[in-house]
Symmetry: C2
Subunit: 321 residues, 2 copies
């Protein structure tokens, strides 16, 4: 018997991942298209071709009823992608603009399309199928190139008045601190994203005379992966970089707890791979910065889903709604 | 015809205010009892006597069906008041403890009793009858002796996993900054409450050689009211104190916006009287610390309700639920 299906799409800076999902959360078919096009029409053509292709491929298993999309700066209420610095096809005259994304896709493929930001989509995936299954109050923090967040309160995603709620990567953790791509200073993202870890490494190498495996590398090209590799070798400076990262994350998390009193904060994204090097400092710093009512009561968890699956599954959950 | 009525109670550090409210939000009768008792049984006796008295007084107008209470550190889920430093009758052996407040009152007066924290109650009053009428997403910040908050998302009060959500007075605005009563450092409350303004005054008087009307006062006894009076006279230092206060509030508000993207932040409490001296700095600092998507889009409003009325009305709204 033909079943109802939905499609989930995870729009990333490098590539976009598409999957057709059934009511049990099984991905029946998936594919990837590049997100590096510089022209909107080129990206749309590639993406909608892939959508149609995937629908055709799964036609014998059921009917795709709708599409959910997670995208950087995606707006749930308006179906737009707004001022996303990492998506070149949203640029006009060198500046990111507002793209009526849901409308454009829907017009081309004839299905209802819902958009939200990528971290929200990941949080929905985690709530439906992952570590946060059954939780009603949690915060998802994505630690990747940048830092994103999805906030769930009473079992519902928080979108806020304008659809942009949950930009926790841009709370100020160091007043007057590092310059951020968003134009502000001292944002959490500038310290605790993969890019932030690399910045901390460059800073320590410049300020500090200690020997370190990191000194063998070109400072301008150091990545969080290099710091991770050095930490694995027991490199003292690399370990200190992750300690510092964890301690800033922990202080920020404590403030998030004061807002929505979640049961858990779930960490997702590439940086989670380094958790053994920052988890201890994170938990200590969070508890040091919490009042008695919360000390040692908030769980810090890590996503159990494959990164690409969580984003596709989360985006697809939007389509079921 | 007998109508259904509810009672709202605002438990404050100095006094507790009680009111019987009808479905139109009219306060039919009210009274005040002291909150300064040092023994729980003395406070409970005074409070429950006042409750019974008020019910008797309004018996010809209708029947009180339930009681809603706003109290410092009130927990909605458990009906408790937990570790409230400003309520001496919660102390055992010199330490504030957990009081089963709803149960104790309900047992004595035979009506259902619901408890929440005082700032949440004020937010509910503001949403039902005040500046936030009709708003679905706003944050109430109470600037009094301390700093409290009530967060409304999608028209619903945020309680969080444990009932303690919304302790925004204790987010860290100055890492390693002023010691707070809660045990943490750099809390928003230590800078922007009435007490915080007095601390800033003492700090500036000590650090700064300028002449000021504030120098005529005993620094240890300076209050935010003294700073307000000096600002009214155009005193430069007093104006700078409010500027500093507004600027820290604005930076903190910007981070709150990044969390829940509210339509407005509503300020409530004694410090609102000084708004003409901090509002400008607050709005500028908030916008300086917001990303493009929010710049100049978030309203800063001030409560339109009489302080005691808002708290009674807000607490009474709990009882209708």
């Amino acid at each position: 018997m033909a079943q109802d299906l939905v499609m989930g799409i995870d729009v990333g800076g490098q590539s976009s991942k598409l999957g057709v999902v059934n009511a049990n959360g099984e991905i029946l078919a998936q594919c990837v298209v590049s997100s590096l096009q510089t022209e909107l029409k080129d990206y749309l053509k590639d993406l909608t071709d892939a959508i149609k292709d995937l629908i055709a491929k799964t036609a014998d298993q059921g009917t795709v009823k709708g599409i959910g999309i997670g995208a950087p700066n995606g707006n749930y209420y308006k179906g737009t992608i707004e001022y996303a610095p990492n998506l070149k096809w949203t640029y006009i005259d060198g500046q990111p603009t507002v793209i009526e994304f849901a409308k454009l896709i829907s017009g081309e493929v004839g299905l209802p399309v819902t958009v939200t930001n990528d971290a929200n989509a990941a949080a929905m995936g985690e709530m439906a199928y992952g570590t946060a299954k059954g939780m009603k109050n949690f915060i998802m923090i994505t630690l990747g190139t940048g830092v994103g967040s999805g906030i769930v309160i009473d079992g519902k995603m928080v979108y806020g008045h304008d659809g942009f709620a949950g930009e926790l990567g841009h709370v100020c953790v160091v007043p007057g601190g590092r310059k951020c791509n968003c134009g502000l200073e001292g944002c959490l993202e500038t310290y605790t994203s993969a890019m932030g870890v690399a910045r901390t490494a460059r800073h320590m190498l410049a300020e500090d005379k200690r020997d370190s495996l990191l000194r063998q590398l070109d400072p301008e090209k150091i990545s969080s992966k290099d710091v991770y590799d050095a930490a694995k070798e027991g490199d003292e400076m690399a370990l200190e970089i992750f300690n510092y990262t964890g301690s800033l994350l922990g202080r920020a998390f404590a403030d998030f707890v004061k807002f929505s009193a979640p049961e858990a904060i779930v960490i997702f994204g590439g940086m989670a791979k380094s958790k053994e090097y920052f988890h201890g400092a994170l938990v200590k710093s969070m508890n040091d910065n919490l009042m008695k009512i919360w000390k040692n009561k908030i769980q810090i968890l890590y996503s159990s889903l494959k990164e690409s699956d969580a984003a596709i599954l989360g985006a697809s959950a939007l389509a079921w709604d």
